[in-house]
Every structure is written in C-alpha cells, then in structure tokens.
Symmetry: C2
Subunit: 332 residues, 2 copies
DNA sequence: CTGTTAGCGCCTTCAT
DNA sequence: ATGAAGGCGCTAACAG
C-alpha cells in the first residue's frame, strides 16, 4: 500500500514524469488533452503530492508556525481559531506551540520553529525579554507579533487599540458619574497593560480627574489576583466606586470579592472587564466589557504574514491596530 | 544566508558527508575524536537538519496531526494543551485543524492530514457520520479518537468515563434529597451525551426513582440552549428541584434562567454542571460540577498514538477510559 | 508540446 | 574507521 507517486501516473499515462508535473501544477506547455488524461489518472489513483519532496526542492512548505502564550486562555484560542480558519482557506497548515508565558519555553519554541522550515511565524511573545524576537529579526523567517509588541523593536505586528479600549471604558465610567475609578491592570511588562494604563490616564486627565497611585493596581492575571487586589483595595481608606479590570477573568474575581463584602453591583460598585469572554454576558450581573475582535486579529495576522512571505524584498513594517468595542451591560 | 548543510560541515572538517552523518546520528563506526570535532563544528555553524530531506528518506516526520471540534471550547483547548506539552517532550510537532463540529470540514481536515504525511493523528470526531473514521481505518495512518468514540467501530480511543461521571453527579443530587432531577443533555449523536444519559438513568434506577420523558431534555450545546431549555422546563407543570447539565456552559444558561424566574440556587433549585471550567468556582453560586482530566486526556492520547507509531504490526485496539471527579460546591 | 537531466539534503548500502 | 554512490519524489532547467 505504497503512496502513489508521479512516476506511477506517468507510467499509466504513457508519458514522462514531468509532463505529469506540468499537468498537476498547471504549467504551460502542455496539450489540453494529455493534461486532462493525466489529471484523471491522478484523481483515480488518489494521488497526493509528497510534501517532503516538494519542500526539499522549493524550500517552501505551505506551513506556518503559531506560538501562543496559553492555548487555554480564551483570548489566545480565539486568535488561534481565526488563524486556523484563514490558513486553511489559503492552503496553509499550522504548527502550534504553547509557551505557558514562560520565556525559556519561548526560546525553545522559536528554535523548533526555525528548524521546522515553516514559511512564516505568528507569535504572541512572552514579554519579559525580547531576545527571541531579536533572534527572529536576524533570521530570514518572516514573522508577525500577535496582540503584543515591543516598543523598541521595529517589527511587524497586529494588535488591538488598547489605549482606545481603555479610554472608552474609563470614559464610560466617568460619564456614569464615577470619579474614584481604580484600575486593576495586568503586569506592566506586557504591552497591552502599559497601553491600557495610558488610555485610562488619558480619559481621567481629559475629564480633570486626579489619578492617585493608590488607584492603580497591577500584575493581575488570574481570577484570584482580581479577587485579592479588590479585597485589599476595599479594605483601604478610600473605596473606589468603580473598577476597570484587565480582563473578564480579573473582573470575575472582583465581583466575587464585592459579593463577599456585601457591595452591590452596580449600585455600590461599577465593574468593567476586558475581552468580552463568552461568560461575560451570562453572569448574575452581566458584565460591561471591552470586546476584542479575536478572530479578526488572527485573520489579519495571517494575512499580513502571507504578504510578507510573498513579498520578495524586505518591506516596511506592517503595523496593524484593530479597533475594540465597548459592550455596555448591567455591571455599570 | 543559506542554511547550513551536512556538506558544509564535511568541508570544514575535511571529512566526507557521511562521516558527518554518522557523527550527527550517533552511529557506530566512527572515531571518537573526529566525532567530537564534527559535533563541535555543527554546533558552531548552528546546523539544523533539513526535515524535508530527512522526511523524504525516512518517510517519518516527527509531526502529529490533531483535529479538534472547536479550539475555542475550553474542553478542547485543554486537550490541546496536554497534547502539545507531551508532544514537545517527545520531540514531536503538532499540526492543528478545527472542524467547527462540521462534518464537511472534518472530511477535508482528514484529507489534508493524510496529505501532510504526519506520523499519527489524534481526532475528536464530529459524530454525525463515521465515514471519515472508516476512511482512516482503511488508511495506514495510526489514529486515536479523543474524548468521543463510535460504538460500532473498533478503533483506538481515549475517553473519560461519562457513564460514571453522570452517575456520580446524579447520585449526589439524590443523596441531597432530590427526586425530580431533570437532565439537560447534549446532542444524542455525541457519544458522551449518550453515555451520560445512561449514567443518569442508572443512578435513578438504583435509587428507585422514576425517569419520565419530560425529565430528559437534549441537544443543549451553548449557554443559550441551557437557558431556553431551562425556561421551557420551568414553565411546564412539573418543576424539577434539580438539574444536571451537559456542560458548565449549559449550567450557566440554566442559572441565568433560574435568576430571571426568581428561583434561588441551591434553595429552590440545585444545579450540577460538567467539565469544571475555570469559571465554575467563581460564579455567584460556585458550581458543583464533574471535573474532566482534560490535560491528562490529551497526554494519554498522545502516548497512545506514539505507541501505535512505534509498534510495527497492528495491535489490539487500545481503549482508555479516564476517571472523572465530582467537585461539590455551593450550587447543590 | 514533450522528454531528459540534474539536483534539493539526507541516509543507507557497499566498498575500501 | 571512512568514503563513494545511489536514490527518496519532485521541479526547473535545457533539449528536442
């Protein structure tokens, strides 16, 4: 039960191997009739090209690499979904690696990808260090950063407008009459955290509201982080009337804390999340949140990556920023 | 900036290409000294073997395919995480495809995978039809079904004990004094739905409780499905005091419906979910649910798949069933 | 329009 | 212990 090769087809059709190649690859210089015959036979024999042979010759693989920080995080799986879908449409396969937000893993993932001979790479970089990204810059492999970027590095990236998203969220809270708005933000080494803090400050400034240090809490990633930071904040002297969270996860933790303390949402406390995860609208108090176009983000990144692959010469950095949408629900 | 090949190493070391090959592949018949030198040079030149050339010769790729029904579903992304992690440890890369629970997509995904020349395939089959699985059985590609299986087909699979999981959940509700326990189950064509219904019935039977047709609701997949089926059920004459749900998603919908109707959980209504998704413990009423060892499921499937690959001759179907765990929280 | 030839990089005989 | 030669399947010259 060996694989069918072009040679088998050639033999059966009584032509040479590369006439078969011409037919199969839609090349010129071939008689329409013979072409039809060959295609017929190929189909009948259920011929599948050997990708290794193809790859060996062309050093193109029709395979893209995707490195994500955590497949189980709905944000990244949303990205992945968009990428996979578009890749399929474009005839590309994708190889996936998960770094668990760990820089060591990122190093080895990038190494593996370089060895894989993929045509291009999409990566949501762990952001503690930019070493691997700089290594990628020195390699010939085209790559696109996904959802996060490095300020100092001139790379291609596709991200969302975090400044704008945070601005909208904060402004909405201000419009609702809140003045003491605490932000429970993500780790400051992640670009989206930094940008959202900027958006938050901008909105506060624009409305003449002071931002005290105590109103900025950081390093919240998990639900538990949100819970603990919120509790700590409620125990302090100045209690916020509104909290803007780094993610819906974090908001979930905040809601839990509020419940335990006996604060009504949105009566005593307004809460805004980020991401519009599937559960946001189904909570006891449906959550106001900033929706990220996850799937489009993935699609756009794939598209960008293909442009890079097909562009012979180096081109200017493609830096795409997608808009977010504030989804207003009952929590504010 | 061409890739370094064995020839480059050979030249630099002043030996022949295949002495290099011997050194690199840890073969006998080579002088320790030359071997060391060669490895040194390879390292220095940052040599990476060309996978296509290797694949072309060996027809082994160190790549596995994974076909999941929906990457964005936490259950599947949990599987994927486990698979990816173990694969990496074993030196395999994985190619991922998403079928969106659509049979047409599954057909093309399987075709693609067959063309990819992967060494093995893990698949969570769409369950409307088993045609693609039968096609796989006729192919030489080793494959393992993941989380779902077909009763009629003698394939390798790795699943969880759905009968047992449902039994535990139902029994727990019975022990809490409930008699009118409604099950909001998934689509009956999915094996896990069928098995869970069996577990539910078993538990009811064992405790002498009657199961009326009206107590069995099906085809719930999304949060919305759970919401609507629950509403319909509450509007009927016989109101359940407990609901056992196909997933935590579905349970979320049920909770939403209960809230709107003014039923207190667990006072008026006990709710059990399935999966132990990350949000289950953070709800206003933390959810009792059946925990599935998602990551292990993936790891086990990978392990099984590697056994198949390394086993020369056909072996008896490996059918693995992992245990689940009932996690009791405030909703019951 | 079609066939012949060479070679992508590697590994496996076989000979030395 | 090492080298030379052939071929995996395909495609891109170049001939005819």
């Amino acid at each position: 039960m060996d694989r069918v090769t072009m040679e088998d087809i050639a033999e059966k059709a009584g032509v040479s191997i590369n006439t078969v190649s011409r037919a199969l690859n839609d090349k010129p210089d071939i008689n329409d009739q013979t072409k039809k015959e060959i295609l017929g036979i190929a189909d009948e024999l259920n011929y599948q090209p050997n990708r290794f042979a193809q790859g060996l010759r062309s050093s193109k693989t029709s395979t893209l690499g995707v490195i994500v920080a955590d497949i189980q995080n709905p944000f990244f799986s949303g990205l992945l979904k968009g990428i996979e879908k578009s890749a399929k449409e474009q005839g590309y396969s994708i190889i996936v690696q998960d770094t668990d937000e760990n820089y060591e893993n990122e190093i080895s993932a990038v190494r593996t990808m370089l060895a894989e001979q993929i045509d291009g790479l999409l990566i949501t970089p762990v952001q503690n260090e930019s070493g691997t990204i700089e290594e990628l810059q020195r390699s010939p492999l085209p790559f696109v950063l996904l959802g996060r970027y490095f300020e100092g590095l001139d790379t291609h990236y596709v991200v969302t407008d975090d400044v704008g998203g945070a601005y909208k969220a904060t402004e909405h809270l201000i419009n609702k009459g809140h003045r003491d708005i605490t932000i429970i933000n993500g780790p400051p080494h992640i670009s989206s955290s930094r940008e959202r803090l900027i958006g938050y400050r901008k909105a506060m400034d624009a409305n003449g509201l002071p931002v005290k240090d105590s109103m900025i809490l950081e390093d919240a990633v998990t639900l538990r982080d949100g819970y603990e930071l919120a509790k700590a904040r409620f125990n302090s002297a100045e209690k916020p009337t509104a909290i803007f969270c780094y993610s819906d996860f974090v908001a979930l933790g905040v809601l839990q804390a509020a419940r335990e303390i006996g604060l009504a949402v949105p009566g005593d406390l307004a809460v805004v999340g980020y991401d519009d995860s599937f559960f946001a609208k189904a909570l006891e108090v449906p959550l106001t949140t900033v929706r990220i176009p996850k799937n489009q983000l993935g699609e756009k990144a794939l598209e960008t990556s293909l442009e890079l692959i097909n562009q012979e010469d180096k081109i200017d950095p493609k830096q795409v920023k997608l808009e977010t949408e504030l989804v207003i629900r009952a929590s504010t």
